[in-house]
Symmetry: C2
Subunit: 204 residues, 2 copies
DNA sequence: TAGATTGTTAATCGATTAACAATC
DNA sequence: TAGATTGTTAATCGATTAACAATC
């Protein structure tokens, strides 16, 4: 497989989400044009992106929704279930633990951690909250590769360091801070303030 | 002001967040190099981005943290408080309503809406949940421009249409669906699945 | 077949980076 | 002054788009 630009990989999940929606609505076949309209992306870009990975369509017809979903899931490694550690069980962490959208898309929150002694041992949806001190050993023995951080900003970097130390390679960070991680570890940041500020620039 | 590329505007909030952190740590002066290291961005890019808006540094010295914060807040329109409507008060909506990070950054959740009759009239942090049927009138009379959607996917587009109809121009969407909005309305999507899938591609 | 859409190439467009004169 | 860092220009790099032959 040739080197794929990050920006191309980043769009594949958007295609997959739109295709899943089409499938749920009973659509069998789609085209790069239709997909592009739904996503606000040009049809040429969609065809170009897909062409990095193979040929998935049929001239004159378009793409079979189900088989393109399968192909994209395979490319993204979303054709299996990934266990995920969640560190920080405050309001946001609890909302994430309850969120029903992970399971159907192949992610399973398998472990919860928190630093607050009052929370240790409590259960959320049948999952027991473990002390933060157990992160390293637990993540290692469960061989987890994916984690979410939902702690306050001031502890997020230390948590990330511990997670990486334990073998985590993908971190979804909800703490409002830029995390520094070694080469080979991926971080994605979710900070609503950043998104809001990107938009209010355009307001008067 | 010349036309600024979206991608440049999109980085300003990241600069602002890093600078706020520096200020909290008592740092008075920084440089494009230091800022870039913290964010994983080249120093040249930071200087180029800022140069779209004016001259904020001093040769040989760098940037005064406090005054660059002020300049960026002004550019982004983050030097005032924006009232925000929140539609959908499930687990996630409640977590957002409780989140303490909005106020200090100039956002104030001023109205809550939900479609569930059982929730109407209940209070969260002193704010009464209003019925979704009141969105249009309330948003208009409060002259709100910013909203967050935290409803299920199947109602998000209808909610967005109503919000836009009522004058909302910036939507932060937590529902896992691509929203379609008219020209002149900005949408930012927050969907953890998308971010997770972007990362697992790189795992084996 | 006629119509439609893919996959791909080449051209265009835009963003990033390197380098340096200006200057604090 | 000597050292450092800005703001900016020009060069490089990469991404997007337009266009079309291939073909279902």
């Amino acid at each position: 497989m040739p080197r794929i630009p990050d920006i191309v990989v980043g769009r594949l999940p958007l295609y997959l989400r739109a295709l899943n929606r089409m499938q749920a609505q009973g659509v069998d076949i789609t085209s790069s044009h239709e997909l592009g309209q739904q996503l606000g992306i040009s049809s040429a870009q969609i065809r170009k992106d897909l062409s990095h990975f193979g040929e998935f369509g049929k001239q004159g017809t378009g793409y079979n929704v189900v088989s393109l979903i399968g192909a994209l899931q395979h490319i993204l490694h979303a054709d299996r279930t990934w266990d995920v550690a969640l560190v920080g069980v405050g309001d946001l962490g609890r909302a994430l633990a309850h969120y029903g959208g992970f399971g159907p898309r192949g992610f399973h929150i398998s472990h919860l951690f928190d630093a607050d002694p009052a929370k240790i041992g409590k259960k959320i949806d049948g999952l027991t909250i473990q002390p933060a001190s157990e992160i390293e050993q637990t993540v290692k023995s469960a061989n987890l590769k994916v984690a979410m951080i939902a702690t306050p900003a001031n502890t997020a970097q230390a948590v990330a360091d511990t997670l990486v130390q334990a073998g985590i390679r993908s971190i979804l960070n909800y703490a409002p801070i830029s995390l520094t991680v070694p080469e080979g570890v991926r971080v994605q940041h979710i900070d609503p303030i950043i998104h809001l500020q990107r938009m209010i620039y355009y307001l008067d």
